[in-house]
Symmetry: C2
Subunit: 113 residues, 2 copies
Amino acid sequence: MSKPVELLQGTLDMLILKAVSLGPLHGYGILLRIQQISKEVLQIQQGSLYPALYRLEHQGWIASEWGESENNRKAKFYRLTAAGRKQLLLERDQWSRLSSAVTGVLNAIPEEL
Amino acid sequence: MSKPVELLQGTLDMLILKAVSLGPLHGYGILLRIQQISKEVLQIQQGSLYPALYRLEHQGWIASEWGESENNRKAKFYRLTAAGRKQLLLERDQWSRLSSAVTGVLNAIPEEL
DNA sequence: TCCACACTCCTAGAGCGTCTAGAGGTAGAA
DNA sequence: TTCTACCTCTAGACGCTCTAGGAGTGTGGA
């Protein structure tokens, strides 16, 4: 009776950093973009997103500014800071190291064990 | 001041199932095997391993039996059950779906956004 | 005109998996 | 004997994501 998993824990911050690395976006927009690019595979909940944005801004990896959305609503736009860019590279590295290690184990054959 | 990440949350169960899918292993052995196959990239802590083993056995995905290790110590050997085999396939699927989605987002270029 | 709905932000609390930091017992080597 | 590697186990802290709410505002349709 396990719930459907929609995210790999620990990747959300990285995904957000990546999303805003390509130009400022407001929170709700980040959510839609990631969903869209991943062809609806990655489903981010608002209750995960906003705490994450707070976390990232608090650490100086993104910066925010109130503005107006494409739909004429007030929205908080986030952009990547220099520190955030570094962090993104770092997390990207870690991700590729770890994910390929996991895949490697999954593909291990008896002789290797 | 974030700690070094040694595991992608949610992958431990799958890694354990995979490890025992190739033949019975005791807990400590599972730990060493995964570490070895992943070339020390994946570092599993004992405090993560044993609760995970309990979890998996409780759900009927692995079964245990006391025996003797290669070093003459008593050790609890785990093997994959039929249900565990199903579960492994399922988690493997989910992993490849999600991890490639994440990688896809990381490789997204501005035009796609 | 008024209502519904999509858009946008936010929070509290629960749930769960992993980590830290311990304890304890045994075989074999020094 | 003492030390180390082997092997199992637990309690509690910690951090991230989810559920489940609340709230306000433009726009379009009835």
